[in-house]
């Protein structure tokens, strides 16, 4: 393949970028149900179908639960399956998410991240996908629409890799990205189709000791999604963990090869570092917030403050070792969470980071900021206070309050 291929700049909202990427990835089956702020994805895809622009079976299911079941079944049959959801829809899929990862089907799903009820709220936060962090799905989060486009294409390469065979969800912040028009560099349909290729079905060993394609194939009957009891269930789960571990390398490789084609890389694919090399204080965040944070870091750097930013692109598998290395010189860290873990002493990202850095020597100061729930806007001024708090911690050499709520009416 020719490197640094010709691309075309198109104005796309995040949802449109996702639908466009799915269209170009030669998806065989889309089974989906509408929910704000994901709806544009299925609407856009329906238009592709209606206009004959895709060779895809589009199933308008009667619920997200059935959308995920149909996606799993289509993928088990050998098709490339894609779906999209958010919030309550993703929550309704909860049961099936575990079935998807347990059945090792490489389904790709876009999540236009949105708050969970109650109270009902349609705006962006990470409550929905964070609640699914232990469902066995690879989780990636985009910073902007460009990355949403690129990540969907990459997701098929990652999910379908025979060393992975896990479903992938790609998060994009509801409204902030899903509904906001941005300039997106896009490949031609042919380029993406060639890059993603036709789904290759891995061969597995059957009970008869033969190699057979891992799909519902009448020529090679296979029992998929069986019951496995005390004597085998545990091994299935251990294998999923192995696949997660393999994904760490596959995601980096895909980021690299895609980077060579497009000229765009997202850190190492797992984490995106910004001025971390000599940083003394750093913020860790996920998603579109990183864009604003980068401009704040730029200002701070102009002022001579050694500030940095680490954006977590891949939340599952959680890249602990890479994060530890990236933060090895940082003395005080603020972790931002756009979701809660009620009663859990901080948000999910905070838990992961404290866990990852427990073995650091010396261990840095780590604090948590819960922000933006239900789409609450967080201004650059507010975000900047995080860095000044970190500076104070360094000066005082102590943490007054380890969990703070940013932009909250107390």
């Amino acid at each position: 393949m020719v490197k640094n291929l010709k691309q075309k700049m198109v104005a796309l909202a995040g949802d449109q970028a996702v639908a466009f990427a799915a269209k170009q990835s030669d998806v065989d089956v889309v089974a989906a149900y509408p929910i704000t702020p994901q709806t544009i994805i299925v609407e856009q895809f329906s238009e592709y179908v209606a206009n004959g622009e895709v060779e895809t079976e589009f199933i308008c299911t009667e619920s997200e639960h059935s959308a995920m079941a149909a996606s799993i079944a289509a993928s088990a049959t050998g098709a490339r399956a894609f779906t999209a959801s958010a919030s309550a829809g993703l929550a309704l899929m909860h049961e099936m998410l575990f079935v998807a990862s347990g059945c090792r089907v490489p389904v790709v799903m876009a999540i236009a991240n949105r708050a969970l009820s109650a109270p009902l709220n349609i705006h962006g936060d990470h409550s929905d996908s964070m609640a699914q962090r232990d469902s066995g799905w690879i989780q990636m989060y985009a910073e902007n629409s460009q990355e949403a486009y690129d990540s969907i294409i990459q997701a098929f390469k990652i999910a379908e890799n025979s060393n992975v065979l896990l479903p992938v969800m790609v998060g994009l912040d509801g409204f902030t990205l899903s509904h906001t028009l941005e300039n997106v560099e896009t490949f031609s349909d042919e380029t993406v189709k060639e890059y993603v290729g036709i789904r290759k079905i891995a061969n597995v060993l059957t009970h008869e000791g033969k190699l057979a394609p891992f799909r519902l194939d009448p020529k090679n009957p296979m029992t998929m999604g069986p019951i496995a009891l005390q004597n085998y269930y545990f091994e299935f789960k251990r294998q999923q963990e192995e696949a997660m571990s393999n994904a760490l390398m596959v995601i980096q490789n895909v980021n690299k090869e895609y980077g060579e084609l497009s000229g765009r890389k997202y850190g190492n694919g797992l984490i995106d570092e910004y001025y971390l090399k000599d940083a003394e204080i750093a913020v860790i965040c996920i998603g579109s917030t990183a864009g604003t944070m980068k401009t704040i870091v730029d200002q701070l750097r102009k002022e001579g403050i050694k500030a940095g930013l680490l954006r977590i692109r891949t939340f599952r598998p959680f890249p602990s070792e890479y994060i530890r290395t990236a933060l090895s010189n940082v003395k005080a860290i603020a972790v931002m969470d756009k979701s809660m873990s009620f009663g859990g002493n901080g948000g999910p990202t905070f838990h992961e980071i404290r866990n990852a850095l427990y073995d650091s020597n010396p261990r840095p100061f780590i604090v948590n900021y819960i922000y933006g729930l239900g789409g609450r806007d967080t201004s650059p001024t507010q975000l900047r206070t995080i860095y000044s708090d970190l500076q104070q911690i360094l000066t005082k050499q102590t943490i007054d309050q380890s969990i703070k709520y940013l932009g909250l009416r107390e």
């Binding site: 089974a31 199933i59 619920s63 079941a69 996606s71 399956a81 519902l216 009957p221 069986p226 019951i227």
Partner: protein
Amino acid sequence: MTTQEWKFTSKEIANKPDLFLPGHRACAGCVPATVLKLVMKATRGPTIVTEATGCMEVVSSIYPYTSWATPWLHTAFETAAANASGIEAALKIMKKKGRISQEHVDVIAIAGDGGTFDIGFQALSGAVERGHDFLFLLYDNEAYMNTGIQRSSGTPHGAATTTSPAGSSVPGKLEYKKPLADIMIAHNMEYVATASPYYWRDLITKVRKGLEVEGPAFLHVFAPCPRGWRSNPAKSIEYSKLAVETCVFPIWEAVNGNYKLSSPSKLLSLAPQKKKPVSDYLKGQGRFRHMFKPENKALLDEVQNITDKRWEQLLKKCNLS
């Protein structure tokens, strides 16, 4: 559906290799297992089966063993029809793109009464509305047997289950069985039928008819469960006969909504004197034992009344009254 009815000899059926293999862990006297064996005798070519969580899923797929000599998928309790949607859609597009060699692959979704009447109903209604080409096979043993005999909306009036026990103030299940096959006809399905495994030729024929429909078809099969019904395992098939003879479970088919009684039930419509009282069917089943106590006479009468009423309604639908 093809106009010419499929004819088969008993020998052909006996000689046809099983797709539902022996060695599964079903209980003695389990009729659902017999039903599946018969159903799979009716296949006409490559067939993919997807099954809801339930007795038959559990007994047939205990890893690393399987009773399925055909591709088979289980995902969850409420998903048989949604799975079928995904499989059918995948087969359709993969064939169009030249990625599978088969000319046609049939899809059968199998679920018990819980996975059909109750938790799987939404997915079933949705898949049928969308018109996917598959046969939905309901094996109805009239309660959640896999979890230990809890009532479903397919459990008949008066039956004792572990969540509708026959107590001193409530005599078993008070509600009536949901008329599911009629509800499926209301979806404007081309083919809906009921069957009982005692009339096995009729059952096999109906499965084949359902498969031949280009679109969704629904088959409701009566399937006694000696564990759940507290009945003699040796009499399971007899109960599947008595249910038809008492009109508790008439067998019929509806092509494009036109109801037509199948022979055993048709004979009863022609010779009503041969219709047996429901007590012939109810007695011997532990789940109905309390109904034979003198103080529960009204309940027994009510079961006879509702059976007669539903039979009359069915005859009207068949233009026979």
